[in-house]
């Protein structure tokens, strides 16, 4: 019996249209710019690749991004493991989860400052410890910055999937007499291989495409993102050569698509996910507790300075307590308008983005559509990952300038949805692919329509992931800068663009105050969303 799947096909074409306009369009534009100069030419490619230092920067980018991604994935795994597989008290697990995702709540502009103000010559930690811990300009600083930047993403992916892995396998494995290491591999690592690879890839591309952190602590260690920035927005904007670099940066994403395809076969679907009791083991708990505390403290330590600096007159030389910075920020009239815009944009992005990610994941993880459709979605997801925000912003400038979408909130929302599509999609896909594959067929045999099945069976089971995705989109929309600075207009300015302007005039105290405001908003939002999720779970149980 052939399923018609018209609903899924409709969803596919809507998503395809969305990404055709707002992802493929910009990429094709860039491709054109990299090869067109009155006529078809490879001159730009030749001049960029042969330029001194280009290949070195490319190699550097790969090295530091790979190292950071590995480290971030490992740390994220350790923290997620403690949350799911130990008997630590609930409050501790919540704390670990909060700390692991904390860096995501702040604009990335703050990481560079956080590192310099913590570990620099006059840094907070340097002063506390009496000496500088490491040379923060170059590979070391980049590594620290990138790891902090990517732990939240890796953690979210791993933590999300771990919730869908059946722990009964642990019991079965023990009963069968496996040694501890075998149990670990069979029951924990193998089901997660796809996710771990996904987390690594996400982290890798985040590092590969970011230029904010190298701008602060990169030092002499050239990376490709800096080269891209210099070409696009340097002393002389050269969009053609910038487009060439952007195209070259897309190439690794092809490799990542292949890796994820290969690891698909390690995926296991579960008939039912039971909440199993874990064995009591105090030694295990204490070890993990201590380990995770150390990791958490390290992450928090770096951000402590963001709380300290706005409350003193002028770090590092005048450290008297003062609230003047807070006052000057909050008395600025344009702040409220920008804050309103930020909130609206974040909420709308979250709502629409969740729908898009959900639809896309349904197609790849829970449908019988042919491979072509699924490959299409996978490629879209992994390509959006590899485009730096700045490139997307500039491409949108070229594409939509002069149209009615120029400088509108809608364009900003769509840009965010496209820019941040990857991780939510992966989260939803991982969740949906762990659930029983037979639900749709059973429901169809029972006479329910596809929509009914999705709404009544799949969605409630995936609700925790949906809410995670919603909060991910919300939080990232609140903190994103690099694309928005180009497409926000005078009437649609948001908080983060204000931060960028303050940064140019070196008003860093105000930058930190605004960052704290964003942090507070994100924390409040997360609390609300978690409360909603728990309410929904309790509601479901009661029914």
């Amino acid at each position: 019996m052939k399923q018609k799947n018209w609903e899924l096909k409709l969803i596919f074409w809507i998503i395809a249209a969305l990404f055709a306009a707002f992802l493929a369009g910009p990429i094709l534009l860039l491709l054109g710019k990299s090869m067109w100069d009155g006529g078809f030419t490879f001159e730009f490619y030749a001049s960029v690749v042969s330029k001194k230092g280009f290949l070195g920067a490319l190699g550097n980018s790969f090295a530091v991004a790979a190292a950071s991604a590995v480290l971030a994935t490992v740390i994220a795994f350790l923290m997620a493991y403690a949350v799911h597989y130990t008997g630590l008290p609930k409050w501790f697990k919540s704390l670990v989860t909060a700390v692991a995702t904390l860096p995501m709540f702040l604009p990335t502009i703050t990481y560079g400052f956080a590192i310099i103000y913590s570990f620099g010559k006059q840094g907070l930690i340097t002063r506390l410890l009496g000496r500088q811990l490491f040379d923060l300009y170059g590979f070391g600083g980049l590594l620290v910055g990138y790891v902090i930047y990517t732990i939240p993403v890796a953690f979210l992916l791993i933590h999300n999937t771990m919730g869908f892995v059946d722990k009964k396998a642990l019991i079965v494995s023990k009963v069968m007499g496996d040694k501890n290491l075998s149990t670990f591999w069979i029951a924990v690592l193998r089901p997660l291989l796809g996710t771990l690879a996904g987390a690594f890839i996400q982290a890798f591309f985040l590092c590969f495409t970011d230029f904010g952190i190298p701008a602060s602590v990169g030092g002499g260690y050239d990376v490709i993102a800096t080269l891209l920035y210099n070409q696009m927005l340097g002393g002389i904007p050269d969009f053609n050569r910038g487009a060439v670099i952007a195209m070259i940066m897309l190439i690794p994403s092809v490799g990542s698509i292949c890796i994820l395809q290969i690891l698909e076969r390690f995926n296991i679907r579960y008939n039912r996910i039971d909440q199993t009791e874990l064995r009591k083991n105090t030694t295990r708990d204490v070890c993990w507790g201590v380990g995770d505390t150390i990791l958490s403290v390290m992450i928090l330590a770096i951000f402590a300075v963001i709380f300290v600096v706005p409350l003193v007159e002028s770090w590092p030389y005048k450290v008297g307590f003062t609230v003047t910075h807070f006052q000057s920020v909050f008395s600025d009239g344009s702040l409220l308008a920008a804050y309103g815009h930020s909130l609206t944009m974040a909420l709308l992005t979250a709502a629409l983005g969740t729908l898009v990610a959900y639809g896309a994941a349904l197609i790849t993880a829970r449908s019988t559509l042919s491979r072509g459709y699924k490959q299409g979605i996978e490629s879209i997801a992994l390509v959006t990952n590899a485009i730096p925000g700045m490139v997307l912003g500039v491409a949108y400038l070229f594409l939509f300038s002069g149209t009615s979408l120029q400088n509108t909130m809608l364009l900003m929302i769509l840009c965010n949805i496209v820019h941040y599509f990857s991780t939510p999609y992966l989260m939803m896909k991982n969740a949906l692919s762990k659930m029983n594959a037979g639900w749709e067929t059973t429901a169809m045999l029972m006479g329910d329509s596809w929509i009914k099945t999705i709404l009544r069976v799949v969605t409630p089971n995936a609700m925790s992931s949906l809410i995670e995705v919603f909060s991910y989109y919300f939080i990232n929309s609140m903190v994103t800068i690099s694309a928005l600075i180009f497409i926000a207009g005078a009437k649609t300015m948001v908080l983060t663009t204000m931060i960028k302007q303050l940064q140019y005039v070196n008003r860093f105290n105000e930058v930190f105050v605004l960052s704290l405001l964003i942090l507070a908003t994100n924390l409040a939002a997360k609390a609300i969303f978690t409360w909603l999720a728990n309410r929904e779970a309790a509601h479901a149980v009661k029914k």
């Binding site: 001194k52 310099i116 620099g120 010559k121 006059q122 170059g138 701008a215 990169g218 030092g219 002499g220 260690y221 800096t226 920035y229 210099n230 927005l233 340097g234 002393g235 002389i236 904007p237 969009f239 002028s314 770090w315 590092p316 030389y317 005048k318 609206t344 709308l348 709502a351 629409l352 729908l355 500039v394 400038l397 070229f398 300038s401 002069g402 009615s404 979408l405 120029q406 400088n407 509108t408 909130m409 809608l410 364009l411 929302i413 600075i485 180009f486 207009g489 005078a490 009437k491 649609t492 300015m493 960028k500 302007q501 940064q503 140019y504 005039v505 070196n506 860093f508 929904e536 509601h539």
Partner: protein, 335 residues
């Protein structure tokens, strides 16, 4: 079921809201005078300059009739080049160098309709508002604690005694660095400039910054003892009590100007834009000169207390080609 109904209603509201957001922000409904569209001004100017310009506009009857939006130089430069006359702004103030590049590429500015009596010749679509000079910036605390001699000229900065203590800007990413290179080329010629620059880059090590305000930022944070950047920013920091000082290098305080320009939007050109541009030039210069002392117009003089010691202008006109040539010089100096 209740929750699902709420979700459904919520989602439909969301969709309609976003469609409305799409249309609403396109048109202008924010507090403008009846029927008149507000003039949108894009600017890369610093805070003091923006305040001066706004004061000039407000005290001449234009309050509420404009929206001022500041950007970083790089982003505004990118927008100018990419968007051309589709730019949301009706008027801009921007580094003159960028305005000229944008005009060459996009032909996007109107010739100014009012008299511009500058001391030096400027293109007919620009009128300079500020002249920003470069100077050596010092962190007095670090100079003391590291026992460093105070440099008097840029050539001093190539002295190995300053190794690891200097921060400069990369001319690849910011035109502020041009001030340094102009001074070196003017004093020592191309070859000499490259040698001195090479020594300076060696001393700077990891601190060749992407942003023009980067060196000052590092000086403030106590990361480096010496930087090169915009003089007026260092003056302001010193006045606010930070351990920052500045030295005018003997090679000269070279300057780059920022200018006002009006976009040519054909029929959609806002007539108020040209009036406001004129207002800023006629009425704003007095306050602007308090922060940027260099005289630009006939009849202006420099305040002797505030002005730099060696104000100089580069011998050749500051063109795109010259900038590129100096960028190449800088790359050769990096070795």
């Amino acid at each position: 079921m209740n929750l699902k109904k709420c979700l459904a209603i919520g989602l439909s509201l969301t969709m309609s809201l976003s469609l409305m957001a799409g249309c609403a922000s396109g048109g202008s409904t924010s507090g403008a005078a009846s029927g008149e569209k507000q003039v949108v001004i894009y600017s890369n100017a610093d805070e003091e300059a923006v305040t001066a310009m706004q004061n000039a506009l407000n005290s001449n009857g234009y309050e509420g009739k404009y929206i001022f939006q500041t950007y970083g130089t790089s982003e505004l430069g990118g927008k100018l080049m990419a968007e051309g006359t589709n730019l949301e702004a009706d008027m801009i103030t921007m580094s003159t160098f960028y305005v000229q590049s944008a005009q060459d590429q996009n032909k996007m500015f109107l010739p100014l309709t009012f008299d511009v009596n500058t001391m030096a010749e400027v293109p007919d679509y620009t009128a300079p508002i500020t002249s920003q000079e470069g100077a050596i910036i010092l962190n007095t605390e670090l100079m003391k604690s590291e026992n460093l001699p105070t440099p008097t000229c840029l050539k001093d900065l190539a002295d190995p005694i300053y190794a690891g203590q200097i921060a400069v800007t990369d001319i690849q990413s910011s035109s502020t660095a041009w001030l340094l290179i102009q001074a070196l080329v003017s004093a020592y010629g191309e070859q000499g400039a490259q040698e001195v620059l090479s020594g300076i880059y060696q001393n700077a090590g990891a601190h060749i910054e992407t942003s023009g305000s980067g060196p000052l930022k590092l000086c403030r944070a106590g990361e480096v003892a010496i930087g090169f950047g915009l003089r007026h920013q260092a003056v302001a920091d010193k006045a606010s009590g930070m351990p920052i000082d500045f030295v005018d290098p003997t090679e000269g305080n070279f300057s780059l100007t920022e200018s006002v320009a009006v976009l040519d939007k054909g029929e959609n050109t806002n007539p108020l834009a040209m009036e406001m541009a004129q207002c800023i030039i006629d009425n704003g210069r007095a306050e602007l000169q308090q922060t940027y002392p260099n005289p630009l117009y006939e009849g202006e003089t420099a305040d002797s207390a505030n002005k730099s010691t060696y104000p100089m202008t580069f011998g050749e006109p500051l063109t795109f080609e010259l900038f590129k040539a100096h960028q190449d010089l800088s790359e050769r100096a990096k070795g």
